[in-house]
Amino acid sequence: MNDNISLAKILIEIGILWFVYYGILIFARGTRGVYVLRGITLITLFFIITKQLGFERINWILTKIFALSVLAFLIIFQQEIRRGLANIGQRRWSRFFLKESEIIKEITTACFLLSKRKIGALIAIERETRLENYIESGIDIDAKVNSELLMTIFMPNTPLHDGGIVIAGERIAASGCLFPLTQNPKVSTMLGTRHRAALGLSEETDAIVVIVSEETGGVSVAIGGRLTHDLDRESLERVLSNLYRPDKKDRK
């Protein structure tokens, strides 16, 4: 009986540690902090190995480095820690009030109104892979998704209309973001920069990228390096509702 209890305790403790590590890794993924985290993990492993082998002097040096690295860690991850804490306070609770279909409706409405006026647009919707690097390349918005705002952002001759916008969770994270252009030689030369950027981003991440063509007004979607042209309103709604799950996202 006691053995069973202690085994359960061990499993719960490992489970808690797993949860913390998983949260940190998911949170750091897609940010510049991932390289720092990789370095810290390597140093930690090195520390454990030297301790097990009894290299006392090396271990002493590493202990001192660790003491300093706590301060360095706080400075390097200052933004991420702040954002993470804010997310813990806000996002979890807001999930209960999420209206996924409303967000999809807002995006679709904006896309087709822009299409009608032949105004180009590039909208990246974050899924599992975080788009932090691309968000950092643009201008922070952090606003609720609504069609009026989306349309205003893409109005020509305005400071924010260049580049793409990123929708992360239920918020418009940033606008004027720079996406990587596709390097695929098979892609038609007829495609413009906006479509190439959409394809590039969808090749590198699992994001859904919606494009409104400036020339034709056609609405396309890029997913996994594939482009689907000239969608109608229903098809776009269907694609988004099948793939966009802000409530299932693990954004910590």
Partner: protein
């Protein structure tokens, strides 16, 4: 549910490995700490037995 297991499999595996390593490392450290406390306690008891006047106040 099945999708949850398949999503981010590598991150889940790496997290599990890190969790297990951390658990064993901390466990070992705790055992060492307990042993050290026991030894200190034993040595202080022994020194008191050997030298009972150690704790007594000086008689004027």
């Amino acid at each position: 549910m099945n999708n949850w297991f398949l999503n981010n499999v590598w991150i889940k595996i790496v997290s599990l490995i890190l969790a297990i390593i951390t658990w064993f490392y901390v466990n070992e450290e705790l055992i060492k700490e307990k042993q050290m406390t026991k030894q200190l306690y034993k040595s202080s008891v022994i020194s008191q037995i050997r030298n009972p006047s150690y704790d007594k106040k000086p008689v004027k």
